[in-house]
Amino acid sequence: MSITVELFGIPRQRAGIAKTQAEGARLDEVLLDLARRFPRLAEACIANGRLQSGYLANLNGQRFVSDPSTALAAGDSLLILSADAGG
């Protein structure tokens, strides 16, 4: 199943793109797919199917998610961003 991944800030810098499609029915599967395709993103932000500390995932602009088994549905957008929203 393909979902949309939107990247912001450092994740966008590392991946070199703002948006992509990724395969997976769960959060960890999508992150593993991203890690495989974007090694620099993986190095900075992803470890063992989880986001490293300092980064957050948000589903459809609605809720933040971290449980690797979080189910994703076709048409979902997964946002990956820096955790620190201070400014």
Partner: protein
């Protein structure tokens, strides 16, 4: 000057109290117990305001005290510690104001042999204050009066020599704009109008030099700890600040519908991408800078497209949002130019953008007769800033801030003036980030993102940011306590991500500097005391529970571009009561007698 006890390590044990009218100074002792209770920076600043009776006088009167407060960590090898707090009663809010700035002024000020400099009085004519090793003299400002912050600093340094560190006001401070800043080396103690307080004393600039270092209790161990902290500061927790700066918030906030746009009429801005640092980095030259003694370097300085011989402009999220989407501006060069104008005039960008955006909406609604002042019009934004900085035309009204302006306009203007307690809101749409809405409502200096980090709760799985439960209140308290400690120790908040156990690590730093045996529990209690002291100050100024709310726009109207982002008055009131209870105050927000007595 009378002698005083030298104070514990990390301190000088006194503040320098200067009457700029009488042109005299005295060293006033600070007991170790006071220092341990309030640390430095914001905490010691509010203590000094209470001690000096600042609440009893108009903030722009000659008697009003204005404090530049250093901290135990200033001058230590710890990264990001070269900071100072400027504390007074705010001319904008009439409540406590503590604004922080960075760099060499903090180090030089402390080396003048004091833990704070408190100014009272008013010079007869525009003047500069020179503090040389704790000895003072007042000189005529002469041709410096009227200059921009940067030009005044450059010319005064050329006159006095490079060993002096200089803080100045711009034309806005001279004209008592209620959100004028105090600037040092391009950085500003920005919020709440401390520049107007200095201007009311007829002081254009303070130049300070000194060589008196406070001793450190355990210098060797402190150097080792500082090295570890610096190493951590190069890691992933600060990557966002190093590589993109705070401006990286823009696209995230826009995607989450939390980017205040057109005076908070929307939470998204169509042209956000063009203003983002991700985009701007590709289209224009950029350099990086950092405050003194900082290993992070979050300052990203952008050049103008196509050159422009002018120096670049520091771009932070707050000036980007306030002078961009909030005013409907989508051209990065206009926003950069407006930021530079604010820097030169010495204007708080958030209050300037907030007040002008409010005026733009007033024009749209037919409440103000200024057809030139339109959302999205870059020339109008620049004209408005210049008028504010010089109090010319409509600027005379806008210089008062959005709350006073709304009261003067009448009708329903106050319902959409973007402020709490008179302080214009920073770039966090409170209907989309409702724990932050609570942080704004209860903030002792008004709507504020530096004294409350409640947005961190919204950016987590712990709450539903559009519908937080009452448990969010306790989490908001935690973020406020952490901010109170960081602002008093002082450490830069952009370092906060590197700590695994902040209270324990902060206690270790403080103990190595001072020789104390502070524990995490003591620091937690210290943070709560500092927040209560600010609340107590506000109560003495006339605070009432009804102040702890948001303008009606945010309470009775959903966000038009996200109807699920609706904050009801009942939810906000419930959160405020839960917050007060979590602080150990009455549910309305009154501290107990015991809590007040403990401040003494």
């Amino acid at each position: 000057m009378p002698s005083h006890h030298p104070g514990p390590p990390g301190y000088h044990g006194c503040y320098l109290r200067i009457d700029v009218g009488k042109q005299c100074a005295e060293r006033v002792g600070l007991a170790e117990v006071e220092l341990r209770k309030f640390l430095g920076g914001s905490g010691l600043g509010v203590h000094l305001m209470l001690r000096e009776g600042s609440h009893q006088v108009d903030p722009l009167s000659p008697e009003a005290p204005l404090a530049f407060v250093f901290s135990p960590l200033v001058g230590s090898p710890l990264t990001t510690s070269a900071k100072f707090a400027v504390v007074s009663r705010s001319p904008l809010t009439e409540r406590i104001n503590d604004s922080l700035a960075s760099s060499h002024f903090a180090i030089a000020g402390k080396r003048a042999g004091c833990d704070a400099i408190v100014l009272v009085g008013r010079a007869d004519t525009p003047s500069i204050l020179i503090i040389d090793e704790g000895q003072i003299r007042i000189e005529a400002a002469g041709e410096l009066w009227g200059l921009s912050c940067r030009d005044a600093e450059t010319q005064l340094r050329a006159r006095l020599g490079n060993e002096y560190q200089i803080a100045t006001i711009g034309p806005a401070g001279e004209r008592l704009v209620r959100y004028a800043t105090i600037s040092h080396d391009g950085r500003h103690a920005g919020r709440g109008g401390s520049g107007a307080v200095l201007g009311s004393k007829h002081i254009k600039a303070i130049a300070v030099r000194g060589s008196q270092r406070a001793r450190l209790a355990e210098p060797a161990q402190l150097v080792a700890l500082a090295k570890q902290l610096s190493d951590k500061s190069f890691g992933p927790a600060t990557a966002k600040y190093r590589e993109l700066g705070t401006a990286a918030n823009l696209l995230v906030f826009n995607r989450l519908g939390a980017l205040p746009t057109r005076n908070f009429q929307q939470g998204t801005f169509k042209a956000a991408e063009a203003l983002s640092p991700e985009q701007m980095t590709q289209t224009r030259a950029k350099t990086r800078a950092s405050c003194a003694a900082c290993t992070i370097g979050c300052e990203h300085i952008y050049g103008f497209r196509g050159g422009d011989n002018q120096p670049g402009v520091r771009m932070e999220y707050e000036n980007l949002f306030a002078l961009g989407p909030l005013c409907g501006i989508s051209d990065p060069d206009v926003v950069l130019g407006a930021s530079r104008v604010c820097d030169e005039l010495g204007l708080d960008t958030i209050s300037a953008g907030g007040t002008i955006a409010f005026a733009m909406e007033c024009v749209e609604r037919g409440l103000l007769d200024a057809p030139w002042l339109k959302f999205g019009d870059g020339n109008a934004l620049h004209r408005a800033l210049h008028e504010v900085g010089r109090r010319e035309g409509l600027g005379a009204l806008m210089a008062e801030g959005s709350r006073r302006m709304a009261k003067s306009i009448g009708s329903d203007a106050l319902t959409f003036a973007p402020q709490v307690k008179g302080l214009e809101m920073p770039g966090y749409e409170p209907r989309a980030l409702q724990t932050m809405a609570l942080g704004f409502a209860v903030g002792t200096r008004g709507a504020d993102h530096n004294r409350s980090g409640a947005y961190e709760v919204d950016f987590s799985e712990r709450v539903d940011r559009r519908q937080p439960g009452l448990e969010a209140a306790g989490m908001a308290v935690e973020t406020e306590d952490k901010a109170a400690l960081m602002d008093s120790l002082i450490l830069c908040k952009f370092l906060r991500g590197v700590f695994t156990d902040f209270l324990a690590e902060a206690a270790e730093m403080l103990n190595l500097v001072t020789g104390w045996d502070t524990t995490p529990d003591e620091l937690r209690a210290t943070a709560r005391r500092i927040v209560t002291a600010k609340k107590h100050f506000n109560i003495l100024c006339g605070w009432q529970p009804a102040e702890d709310t948001l303008p009606e726009r945010f309470l009775n109207h959903p966000l038009p571009d996200d109807p699920t982002a609706t904050l009801t008055p009942e939810r906000l009131q419930g959160l405020v009561a839960a917050y007060n209870t979590a602080r150990g105050w009455s549910s309305e927000g009154w501290p107990t007698r015991g809590q007040i007595a403990e401040l003494g």
